[in-house]
Amino acid sequence: MTLEQTVVDTVERARATPERQQAYAALGLTDDEYARIREILGRRPTSGELAMYSVMWSEHCSYKSSKKYLRRFGERVTDRMREHLMVGMGQNAGVVDVGRGWAVTFKVESHNHPSYVEPFQGAATGVGGIVRDIIAMGARPVAVMDQLRFGDLAEADTLRVVHGVVAGISFYGNCLGLPNIGGETVFDPVYQGNPLVNALCVGVLKHEDLRLANATGAGNLVVLFGARTGGDGIGGASILASDTFTASGPTKRPAVQVGDPFAEKVLIECCLELYAGGLVEAIQDLGAAGISCATSELAANGDGGMRIDLDAVLLRDPTLTAEEILMSESQERMMAVVAPERLEGFLAVTGRWDVETSVLGTVTETGRLEITWHGETIVDVDPATVAVDGPVYDRPVARPAGLDALQADSATGLPRPADGPAIAEQLRALIGSPNLADVGWITDQYDRYVLGNTALAFPDDAGMIRVDEESGLGVAIATDANGRYSELDPRAGAQLALAEAYRNVAVTGARPLAVTDCLNFGAPTNPEVMWQFAETVDGLSEACLALEVPVTGGNVSLYNQTGDRAIHPTPVVGVLGVIDDVAKRVPSGWQDDGLNLYLLGETALELDGSAWAQVVHGHLGGRPPAVRLEAERALAGLLAAGASEGLLAAAHDLSEGGLAATLVEGVLRFGVGARVWLDEVLERDGVDAATALFSESTARVLVAVPREEDVRFVGLCAGRRVPAIRLGVTDAESGMLEVQGLLTERIEDLRRIRWGVLPAALGARSTAAGS
């Protein structure tokens, strides 16, 4: 048998054979990092220790290039921002107090690389992974969202990736019974060889149910439960292909994992019953780096050490080596710390849910993480050196060489149409472009209303979930990122992403409270990418402080590039807001006749980086729209007040595609037309008609107000100093979108253009069943 042929590399052997060559480079460790491990241990690492350090010190787990900058999120926080924060950065996910004894936890994470290699399973396990982060906080997962970036819609490989990713997300999420309440889909050639698949999950808990990943209390038991451990996704890289660890010939394990949503569903219910019974002291999910990560993080966050017997791990494949067990990324597993007197109760619950469970070891007072295998010690380390005090790099930064030229190349000089027919033609081109087209082809494959608490979902600006069935208390979540803006100016781009997500939450009537982010960038070894990253974090943390919404957690994904070509910096920012009663939510489209339409905010000539520049002129250059955080705050305050007083029949934010896109989406939402006139806007803001329609100036929202509330609404705007212009009225009879003097388009025609794009390119929908 293979096992007996394997030479077990024990701590004792490591001491005796300091000269033994170790293939650390194949594991992704640098010479310096390997030297540091030897220094920490005072000897060479065993092969098991080397496996642990290599995965935990990887960029993905250690944040070694980004850590230096991420600290800013923690520094730029005021006491007022902390007021609602129950758990901040550093745990599995942030937790926010939403009132009435309820708390909400949410986080967005990337699963980019696996989703390119194996789109279906990559995207599916991306959902599974983020859901387990939420369970690990003690919460019941209640909704998911996905932020997707694909390559050119016209490329054949994009079809492979889109079909696989969308089918994978719908398969896992739908089987799990979680509504997918929104997200983003963007097509751009920069993502051709490196699509982005980010997944967000939100969970709900009572304050007293909060759980943390801290292994405390010597004598407590360390328990692994859920799926068995197999050879899935070992190292997440071709790490073990190098045949370093065994003498029995090369073992080639695939870096992808296969998920089982039905096992995860059982795991959710099982965990919640364990929490309810008070049977768990601490809990951690197993994601990247598997048992290596869970044991070292639990121990490092606690006050003592941990002793683990690796032979106790239940295996799906008995030929796995100790190193493979330590690194396996098999899905649907959790690790808990359980007091010995509660073990019986714990096993009764896992037994009832048919969840396999094994006791791996105990929490100790030694301050060491010790792991044995076949009776011999193969790991003996200070867990903090593995999980917390990894290397931190201050990588060189350099402003991109071509940035000045790029920023000088403004879209302002591009020809803008002056007459109605030309404007109408460009409007049709815009809504018929992949990024402004209807993405129902994708989102219709997801359950949106399962669980019965969805108050808003796609195509509204934010998703909204009812948290408390008695009072109607709920939360709204929106995510945004505009890679084109970030390419032009990463600092402003990140702030604009935050501003838009914040505004998207505000238009529903919710008050923005907290932030999660997933920062997708190219290789940190490229100084220009590192500069973009530094600018992004600095800009984002500054804007979070200005808007008083703290970052609660998130994820950094680097090395998103094909060859030398990095993706546009894509900082996905998610904002969570709270609404006292979801019955007072504001939809994104109007449903009634004769409502007054008001444009809130001011329009400037800001077409750089816009959808108009991209679609009409194939242009990217200049400076993104100005960031107006004070105006965003005033706007959000107005919207919350207007919603709570019932003054708003609809509210829809202006972003990509400007007022033109917002008007089209407004009439298409419920098929109720509108008549608008631009004269007042043109006069007050000093812009031309094309600019009024296509500019992407921020801090703007289109609202529909019932006539009888008109006086109160205008008074509210004046009192809060939010510029408002009556732009038009809704019209249920005409079936038209009319911009007076410029264009009159049939709603049916607009719908056909907008809905036709994705089906034409992608063909028939995938079914969730196949892989």
Binding site: V117, G231, V258, D260, F262, A263
Partner: protein, 83 residues
């Protein structure tokens, strides 16, 4: 008409949720002698003409390129079905 059979199995080291579900059901039926189940796929390609080396080569190509997802599955058999 002759038939070429292609069989595809999930890679041995990857989780096979379907096989796991069947194994669980066997246990509930009391069939304890079967300790594990793995579920694969069988394709029957009806051949227009004789099954010669060229036809088998074609079938192998199709099996690797289309019928199996090489990232998570292996082609374990490509051969003529003998009646």
């Amino acid at each position: 008409m002759p038939v070429i059979v292609v069989e595809v199995m999930p890679k041995a080291e990857l989780l096979d949720p379907q096989g796991k579900a069947v194994a669980g059901a066997l246990g509930r039926l009391g069939k304890d002698r079967f300790s594990a189940v793995r579920v694969g796929k069988r394709f029957e390609l009806t051949v227009d003409g004789p099954v010669d080396e060229a036809a088998l080569a074609d079938a192998r190509e199709v099996a690797e390129a289309l019928l199996a997802n090489g990232v998570i599955e292996d082609v374990v058999r490509v051969s003529e079905e003998v009646a």
